[in-house]
Symmetry: C2
Amino acid sequence: MLDLVVMKFGGSSVANTEKIINVATRVTDKSKKYRVVVVVSAPGDMTDDLIDKAKSINESPDPREMDMLLATGEMQSIALLSMAIKSKGFNAISLTGPQAGIYADSVHTKAKIKKIRPKKIVTELQKGKIVIVAGFQGLNPNDDIATLGRGGSDLTAVALAAALKAKECEIYTDVNGVYTTDPRLIPEAKRLDKISYDEMLELAGVGSQVMMSRSIEVAKKYNVDIHVRSTFSDANGTIITKEVPKMEDVVVSGVAYDKNEAKLSVTDIPDKPGIAAKIFGALSKKNINVDMIIQSAAREKYNDISFTVSKNDLKNATSILKQISRTLNAGPVIYDENVAKISIVGIGMRSHSGVAAKMFKILANEGINIQMISTSEIKISCIISNKDTNRAVRILHKQFGLG
Amino acid sequence: MLDLVVMKFGGSSVANTEKIINVATRVTDKSKKYRVVVVVSAPGDMTDDLIDKAKSINESPDPREMDMLLATGEMQSIALLSMAIKSKGFNAISLTGPQAGIYADSVHTKAKIKKIRPKKIVTELQKGKIVIVAGFQGLNPNDDIATLGRGGSDLTAVALAAALKAKECEIYTDVNGVYTTDPRLIPEAKRLDKISYDEMLELAGVGSQVMMSRSIEVAKKYNVDIHVRSTFSDANGTIITKEVPKMEDVVVSGVAYDKNEAKLSVTDIPDKPGIAAKIFGALSKKNINVDMIIQSAAREKYNDISFTVSKNDLKNATSILKQISRTLNAGPVIYDENVAKISIVGIGMRSHSGVAAKMFKILANEGINIQMISTSEIKISCIISNKDTNRAVRILHKQFGLG
């Protein structure tokens, strides 16, 4: 029996007739050597357009109805792609998420996959068909369609690859792999042949747009090799895989940046127990995710607490903090939107000491001021002024030998 | 328990946000006095647009995939209408055809409804919800979505009204009922308060655009009262219902016309058995429907056979007939596109003799030549020259006392 490959194409790859036919060609070429399951997203901007339409009717649309609406995008993609493959003389069948046996929990618009029963997929593969599955959707315990939220189509692909024990999960995208840093910013950026799940997870967490953490987590758990590659070229991309010993020779494998965060501080907080819990509890209640947190050492019984949030959440977070500040008798709430988070990631850090010190020194030599720092086992992130971003990425990329 | 009403809205009623909100108002007003099940079509031109898109990818798209594609139109309508109803503070839930328990046969793109198991609808009604069902679709024996073909949403509505023993099935449309003839043509046309299933069936068969025969047949079988009325007004429309005695006082209840037919003749056919079977068998094989048929009396062992087909089929039919004419040693095939079918319908004809004669005399007095005639128990149709259509409709409408 031929090996199985899962191929996933995003919305920009199926945005119009010409592009759908191009995807059909890639799929049928692949099917000459492999059994193929394809996962597709909704065409182009359709999901955004449907969300706009819903909001024009109801400012906070019912999540179940939102999922009924949004699921139509992927259904259109799978039907059209199946038609395109058939017109090339190959046999194909489209399956919705529920038909494909993808079972989700009941949290509409951001459901998690609970289990996969790919019986129908297996049956159709056995008939020699190319199976095309709608990404981003599953059946929930109420027999309703639920969508999987951001990165949902990648998740569908990785989860199917795990359930079907695929040789590889190919993620087709408009870049041809994972780079040492953003190639639009730094022309010397190099494509990585391989990267470990852990490094990719850290990169996803610090602004790399290639894949969301949730898909990589599933790939890591089930040991699925992900191949990130270009929709428009046959060249190999980057394999995201489990850690291999020789990887550790490379200290740092990537530099990432994220301009989508804003810094907030509550100043002059009386130093009493439970203050941090109060602040972050209130933000969490409003579903505002907090990233880096720094609490300054107490000086004369007063603290400052600073942290970063997504720029979208800044307005809400500020108004919540102002209320809390009043009830705590604390000082003014200040914020800064003109910041960027810059990060270096690499599993080599584990065995190489002094990486953080080297990063700080490189930035200092460039006269770039570090406002906040956070570290993990294989990642170091700094908040700097937005205007220094490009310069910082360029110099770190060069000094860590990635060019 | 409140009576149940099924309300059906076509695609033009849900073509944009403003119209969807208008429909939501009609539905919520109704729900103050009735339990309500709503059936909707795909928004505006969406179905046609999707068909065009499919054909740009594959000239003869796979019917199963076509249904996967087309079903998304109604799914968008039900989700958006449900959101609109909820934003007015009412409780609602949208259901796809499969979720609503509509089971179809396996003929994709023109499936028939096999049975309805409305358990989920009943449960949601019991919770006090307005239930919104996607028209035009059901689940087939392969667990695939199948669409019901032309007039499918009306059929969904009537079948649900039968299964749920609804008090009435309301068909909302852009006219406010069934008229004695086309009011765009004859301003004196009158709206009928009531019309029988049989009369409506005949009208549907002779060019009236209000409803397709298949829905009326189901309504007749299960004795469902259909109320055809305007989306944009509260005025009563026309009730399509079972025959009531006093209806018979009216001899003729409507005059209809159809400019979409063309006349074809095969001339000088040697008079042998099996000729008609050969001609109409060949047309049927190519799915060409034939309407009126006239075989002239044999003169010197030669026959002419004339009949009408839809104008769309004229080209195909002509080329088939030319081949057959050659193999039969018959004469030339002639056709005429400039014809119209004009019909009078009324259950009163059954008990009133001379109706046909009166129709022919009225036309003759106007100098309108009759080219073909066909009759049923409650209908008389004539083929006349296209240019005489308006004059014929006007004079028949007047002389049969419908003005």
